[in-house]
């Protein structure tokens, strides 16, 4: 009998086609790196450390460069530096169980690693919020103390489904009051003043950036998928640090044009006829193993939707007064999907599964991130029950490669692919 061996795991050499403008991501990145240099060089310019869910726009409005420890931690991981930085932080006494972004940041600052490898410099101020992560609070406070830099943290109440209007309004008042405290803090420690004209300009651009990403997602509903999570995981960078800056808008416009072009021709990111499984990825990617999502292509699987990057582009409203603007920003910060309670998360996930015609869901149960991992077992169960599609929970970590075990993850992923294959045959 002739044996024709298919390569390991029946996998085929299928590669994702990246969008023609994918490489243009370097322009917003270079702009950001260049801007930091300028802001640090000129004495009247100021810099801050900020965090995820913090209204970064506020920093651009105040003409303060928003450095971003989490963003730089992902750079360190992608450049294969995170493990040594994490181990360095652990040698300083930080617990192994602590968030790997936090430890990467501690290690990066303490070892003075180069910018291009994920390094980060001392800012003029440290500002953060506990909106999606309670580790931010202590982590940023510790670093501010260590660097001897003024620190401000604002507290965000959790807004869950069923919260009545009166409580919601009270919560908005509470957050807006803290915004005014934050402004006083910024003005006191940087000498910068609020510029209302710039406020509306920055917020308009931020809205445009969000809308473009949302439109990109509308086109991702097409079959075959024109744009994989493998690409979006890097391409959403402007939403993280450049909301309110023109260069991100230009990049997203080109990406959108590429996608429209592909979908008009009925083409996708996979070679023609090769898209077999449309998968949702939930959670933060494995930054040290960015190939993971690309490698799914060999099984005919594409990440057609991921709530993570989508959550960075909420629907924003055009406001006419400063008070209205602050109230809207407060509302948006409280309305982050990672703060939703389970029933609302299930509702959202099931809606996305239908809209994006998904065949399976991968949930990253992230050792570093409780907010994104909480409730996953119940979420998975609800999806299996209501939608009849396989759900894989991968226990791993976003920035600590020690948590990633190649063969074990491979077996789980292949088992998941086999379940989707069997599901399609039924």
């Amino acid at each position: 009998m002739d044996k024709v061996k298919k390569s390991g795991n029946n996998a085929r050499k299928i590669k994702l086609k990246t969008l023609p403008h994918a490489k243009d991501l370097k322009w917003p990145m270079l702009w950001w790196i260049g801007m930091e240099k300028i802001y640090r060089m000129l004495p009247w310019k100021k810099t801050a450390w900020t965090c995820a869910a913090f209204p970064i726009e506020l920093m651009w409005i105040y003409d303060i460069f928003p450095d971003h420890p989490e963003n730089m931690a992902t750079v360190a991981a992608a450049r294969k530096q995170s493990q040594r930085l994490i181990e360095h932080a652990e040698s300083m006494g930080f617990s192994r169980d602590l968030c790997s972004y936090c430890k990467t940041n501690v290690g990066a600052y303490d070892t003075k690693i180069k910018k291009t490898l994920g390094g980060i410099s001392k800012p003029d101020i440290v500002v953060c919020t506990n909106a999606i992560c309670d580790t931010h609070w202590k982590w940023f406070q510790i670093m501010a103390d260590k660097m001897n830099v003024p620190f401000f943290m604002f507290d965000i109440p959790k807004s869950v489904s069923g919260t009545d209007e009166k409580t919601l309004e009270g919560n908005i008042d509470y957050v807006v009051n803290q915004f005014y405290d934050l402004m006083t803090f910024i003005e006191k420690h940087t000498g910068k003043k609020m510029n209302e004209k710039r406020l509306y300009k920055v917020l308009d651009r931020s809205m445009e950036l969000s809308n473009l990403w949302r439109e990109i997602f509308e086109h991702r509903k097409s079959v075959p998928s024109p744009y994989s999570g493998a690409e979006t995981s890097a391409a959403f960078f402007p939403l993280v640090v450049l909301p309110g800056v023109q260069i991100g808008i230009n990049f997203f416009k080109n990406i959108l044009a590429d996608i429209k072009n592909l979908t008009a021709k009925g083409e996708g990111t996979m070679p023609k006829g090769q898209e077999k499984y449309r998968v949702m990825w939930e959670g933060i990617p494995f930054w040290y193993r960015m190939r993971f999502m690309y490698d799914l292509a060999q099984y005919g699987a594409v990440i057609a939707f991921e709530p993570y990057t989508y959550s960075f582009a909420p629907m924003k409203k055009k406001c006419l007064t400063m008070e209205e603007t602050l109230r809207d920003v407060a509302k948006l910060i409280m309305d982050t999907p990672y703060a939703y309670n389970l029933e609302r998360r299930i509702e959202n996930f099931e809606k996305w599964i239908d809209e994006y015609k998904l065949d399976g869901v991968i949930l990253h149960e992230n050792m570093s991130c409780r907010p994104s991992s909480a409730g996953m077992v119940d979420l998975a169960e609800a999806i299996r029950r209501d939608k009849g599609i396989p759900v894989l929970i991968l226990q791993c970590d976003m920035n600590d490669p020690r948590a990633y075990s190649e063969e074990q993850i491979k077996t789980r992923v292949e088992g998941f692919i086999e379940l989707m294959e069997a599901n399609k045959k039924r």
Binding site: G8, N10, T411, G415, A422
Partner: protein
């Protein structure tokens, strides 16, 4: 039509031959350091023992951690699919499979037709696997084959609270120093595995009847502790250790 299944585990390599819905033969050897060589060896040995020519084998499916190194296979499946197919063949009523192998453990939930509905696997950790038992048997200076039977005699199992193999080993050593009975410590070790496995099964949603597969199914102490912990009977097949290979041979027939 004769088909073959080859299951390369971290400790042993297994092979099974299947002909027209019937199991012909099974074979187990140690994997050693070369998974590819072990796959070929177990395949050749089972063919030699059954006096079947290679040319008569219509299809080969490989499984286990070394599945991709089996070059002669027509395709590979994960252990999840193969254990499901094997268990369904051995008992079509089985709804939950607990597979405890050398380096991992799994819980697999089947639907009424024997198809996989869901599965969970252990964390990246040796606790709750065959390797854990090997380490413990060594610490207790007991032959692994006697390990299970000894523990059943215990009336007062010791408490092993550590979730880590390394820490559990030092805990065991301190229990020996404290004068705990050997059979009680071994029973405690089995109970600690049962606790770990039962919380993993909880994530998949257990349904009876339950079958245990994989090499650890040979350890009656683990089965006894699991039955006690779960409050239900666990079926152990004579073919538990080769169940993955049997499933692979069955899946090969449908290629």
């Amino acid at each position: 039509m004769i088909t073959a299944g080859i299951d390369i585990g971290s400790i042993t390599a297994k092979a099974a031959l299947f002909k027209d819905g019937k199991l012909l033969a099974t074979k187990v050897i140690f994997t050693g350091y070369n998974a590819e060589a072990a796959g070929l060896k177990v395949y050749e040995e089972i063919l030699a023992e059954t006096d079947i020519d290679k040319k008569s084998i219509a299809k080969v499916v490989s499984t286990g951690y070394g599945r991709n190194s089996v070059k002669i296979a027509d395709r590979s499946y994960t252990e999840i699919m193969c254990h499901a197919a094997g268990a369904h063949f051995l008992n079509p009523h089985v709804r939950t499979i607990i597979d405890i192998g050398g380096q991992d453990s799994k819980a697999i939930l089947l639907d009424d037709g024997g198809k996989v509905k869901n599965f969970v696997m252990n964390d990246k950790c040796a606790a709750g696997t065959g390797r854990f038992l090997e380490v413990m048997a060594r610490a207790m200076e007991v032959n692994l084959d006697e390990f299970g039977a000894l523990s059943i005699k215990s009336k007062h199992p010791s408490k092993i609270s550590s979730l880590c193999t390394v820490f559990a080993e030092s805990e065991v050593i301190s229990l020996i120093a404290k004068g705990n009975q050997r059979i009680d410590i071994i029973a405690g070790i089995h109970e600690s595995i049962a606790s770990r496995i039962s919380s993993m099964i909880g994530r998949v949603g257990i349904k009876e009847p339950v079958m245990i597969t994989g090499g650890v199914a040979r350890n009656v102490g683990v089965i006894h502790a699991l039955e006690k912990k779960l409050g239900m009977n666990i079926e152990v097949s004579h073919y538990a250790q080769v169940n993955g290979a049997i499933g692979a041979a069955i899946l090969a027939a449908s290629l």
